[in-house]
Symmetry: C2
Subunit: 207 residues, 2 copies
């Protein structure tokens, strides 16, 4: 991993941002994530992401952070690395015990798992024939998830949480269809809703 | 791959089996699968499985077989090997063009994909904390799928196909919970139906 511009990054937060009620700490050195979190004035919902580098080199800081966030996003490899447990459901329970109330384990083309102490929701990814570039898919997932959840106004409602996983999934699916932000810049709310319907079509289990 | 007892296997089919209406040709040399199929008298529904060994060493026979089966089961690695295509949806379409009307791509803990020319159904696996031995999961999937589909009496009905994927998933999930047939021998229809409900609980997407 080459940190490049993040090597000596020390985020300066504009004063107008300090009252932001919903905070997503994207993947970066957990010491920086903690510093940003400490500067914020009482956010109502805090999410974070991480990566293998920090799990291997900054575990203590990451564990400190996990006690302070509401929703933790990581991928399946990271979940296994963090816990030493191969089974993702077991690993998820171990991670929930580290602090976050909600956990999302991202599995790329295989979908995602949402866990809280009460919820276990497994979702496939949106089936795509065209995958150009997976860069940023995880951040798009988190963005779609967060905005859906915040819009619902009910952070811990089962229905809102599940729908938000799907919106995260869909935003990631648009993102990987092109390089950079090319597809995301153009996507409309109408297209997102149409893909939600298509997702239901491809995943519906008849009773 | 060590073929062991299958090295010189030449199946002898009891006369009483020749009228079997539903035939599943489990993974074995495609020449043997073809020979068995030729002996049978007009089966109504034929499925088959295969593996990397036959894709690499008996492709011509496998391709001949695929023109004669209705439903083809293989895992994601095999689908990629058979087609040279990494994207599973694209690979699936290429495989459907090889002959079978229905295709199931098995992804182990990540679920399964069902494809026909009209259908694309993606399903997660049943989330399990206890996985003891994955041996035989694919055959259990095929068994659960086939028996559900045959029971429905409507082989190409969208609802029957999807439900059958779930029953395949569930039978595989029971199988991996213990060694050999230990769990399967004990499982009751009541337990299977209860797990179907649980599956729906863990996968339901609210509108």
């Amino acid at each position: 991993t080459e940190l490049n511009v993040f090597q000596n990054f020390d985020p300066k937060i504009p004063v107008s941002y300090l009252n932001t009620p919903h905070l997503f700490l994207a993947n970066i050195d957990p010491d920086l994530q903690l510093r940003v979190l400490e500067k914020m004035k009482k956010p109502k919902l805090v999410g974070c992401d991480t990566m293998n580098l920090w799990i291997n080199t900054k575990r203590a800081s990451l564990e400190k952070l996990l006690k302070k966030v509401d929703i933790f996003f990581l991928n399946e490899g990271e979940a296994r690395l963090l816990t030493g447990e191969k089974n993702l459901i077991k690993a998820g329970k171990m991670i929930l015990n580290m602090g976050p109330r909600g956990l999302i384990i991202k599995k790329g083309e295989h979908g995602a798992i949402l866990m809280t102490s009460k919820t276990l929701f497994v979702s496939p990814a949106f089936p795509l024939e065209k995958v150009v570039d997976p860069t940023g898919a995880g951040d798009c997932f988190a963005g779609g998830f967060f905005s859906s959840l915040v819009k619902s106004g009910k952070y811990w409602d089962e229905k809102s949480l599940r729908q938000s996983v799907i919106y995260g999934t869909l935003m990631a699916s648009f993102n990987v269809e092109s390089f950079s932000l090319d597809r995301l810049k153009k996507v409309s709310m109408k297209e997102i809703q149409a893909r939600f319907k298509k997702f239901q079509l491809h995943t519906h289990v008849p009773v």
